[in-house]
Subunit: 316 residues, 2 copies
């Protein structure tokens, strides 16, 4: 019997569009449309999706159906189902929903922390500790990631000292999280800084160094991902169509575009496990669910190069 | 007497918009508007500009005033004035105009060479040799660069063997050019390939390895520039507003955006000698001269990060 050779993914692309993308969009996408989109993402080979956020529906009505999405996503084989939680109450709801993984945003900038969650950084680390204790008691198999936000600069305080970033990640690890990544919340990062900080992060917390969550606000998104990859990062957050994260300027996209990022890695011979043609097809249910919303991405406009052959991808 | 410390540029940004950009645009920009734009580019600290192309006005009426632009650009202090020439007749006109530097496109793809200049690669190398002989006879101080086009793939033949690329560059050097760079004419390049090819290029032709001319067609432009920088490249072609090079898909920009590229290097602490605020201001005469034309660039939309301080730049 001849089995086709199948490359093993060398990087994990974590799709954050259903959370980070949709929370930035005014339109509320219906649950049925979100499910079609999540199914299409999964069908392309995406194996980690942040499906929503456990926050009061009054503050983010776009994400009010997160528990229902978790329930559906848990039926998709091989998928790690994530949700964002900003506090203990959110964590309780998330753990009750059955998610595989929680992500908690923790600002490296004191000014951003106070503005965003009305807590100091130290208070937020205490919240992380409480969430870890809850997880340990209720669902010890669930993973917890702390995402250090404003890790590369802050729109309120400007530069964020690198020591503050590394200290915040180390405090989260000491509080019991399984991994801590770095987020360019503001689109301020540059490749030299990204490489330096992820190397310091790994030196400080070793294998608990987590994902790179990078934005394309100033066009440096993929260059920053490349620098993170060269610094040893193997998990990358991205958003289909670059949806979301456009708080600073019209026309300036936020999240790194999943399609372009996957193309970059596949073209380099770094296997993502994702079928590019199916990934591009996953834009259709997104467009259908958010009619009129601007999507980003250069690959979708230009198409694949002539003669481009992707390594065989086995998608369940 | 106190002199402010001034950083010495570590990379050369070669602005190709007045040639590569304008040749792709249907509108003919007036000579007066082009001069205002070139002046603004120079005022920002740009020190190499490809001001046009010496080709028959019937084939590229947009560039029919190249000799006049050369005459003006030669009055700008410290500026290297370049023009593209595809053949001996163009080289004669360029040398008569007084340019500092000629650039000759030489395809690595036989199919592209035949389609683009109706010459085989070997015939094109013979043309290079003729142009070098002419330069030696008439203006030995003028520099000649061969830009190896389709170096990362071809829309006609698909993949281009790396051996063909390196061989083409080596033949051009043997024919007497001062430097040979690599061009991603089609927007097919990826960072791994860019790094590999520029390393091979330097191993083959040493200090005669020239500029990286990279496109952003599939969003990888800055990541590819970063890879080229890491491979030792120090001259980068770019186009203000990403003007030009949009032959494949609407909305897909061609050339790397000068503003975003300069921001990337400056944010990394790699001095370009270019004042970012003045560079952004150089978009105004471009917009005024090409009303209604779409310009690209993420930095112009998002603005500089809060607290971003550029190293002192001394601009004449």
């Amino acid at each position: 019997m001849h089995l086709p050779s199948v490359a093993v993914p060398a990087v994990l692309i974590s799709e954050v569009g259903p959370r980070d993308g949709l929370q930035s969009v005014k339109t509320i996408m219906s649950t049925a449309d979100k499910i079609r989109w999540i199914n299409a993402l999964h069908a392309s080979g995406i194996r980690e999706i942040e499906v929503g956020s456990f926050v009061p529906a009054s503050s983010l009505p776009q994400l009010a159906d997160t528990a229902e999405l978790v329930r559906h996503a848990l039926t998709l084989p091989g998928l790690t189902v994530m949700a964002l939680v900003p506090n203990l109450r959110g964590a309780q709801a998330a753990l009750a929903s059955g998610v595989h993984k929680l992500t908690i945003p923790v600002s490296a900038s004191e000014a951003h922390s106070l503005a965003n969650v009305r807590k100091s950084r130290d208070e937020m680390v205490a919240t992380v500790r409480d969430i870890v204790a809850l997880r340990n008691a209720l669902a010890p198999g669930v993973k917890i990631e702390a995402g250090v936000s404003t890790a590369f600069g802050c729109t309120i305080q400007g530069a964020v000292p690198e020591d503050d970033v590394i200290r915040t990640a180390a405090l989260c690890v000491a509080a019991g999280v399984d991994e801590s990544g770095l987020s360019d919340t503001t689109g301020y990062a540059n490749p030299a800084q990204v490489g330096r900080l992820f190397r310091r992060l790994r030196a400080e917390i070793g294998d608990k160094a987590g994902a790179a969550h990078l934005h394309n606000t100033r066009g440096l998104g993929l260059a920053n991902c490349l620098a993170a990859y060269e610094a040893g990062v193997r998990t990358f957050d991205a958003s289909l169509g670059g949806l979301g994260g456009c708080p600073y300027a019209p026309g300036a996209s936020g999240n790194v575009v999943t399609e372009d990022l996957v193309f970059m890695f596949e073209a380099m011979g770094v296997c993502t496990g994702i079928d590019l043609a199916k990934l591009l097809a996953a834009r259709e249910p997104l467009k259908a669910g958010l009619p009129g919303e601007a999507l980003y991405g250069m690959l979708p406009e230009a198409g694949l190069p002539k003669g481009f052959v992707q390594d065989a991808v086995h998608v369940d």
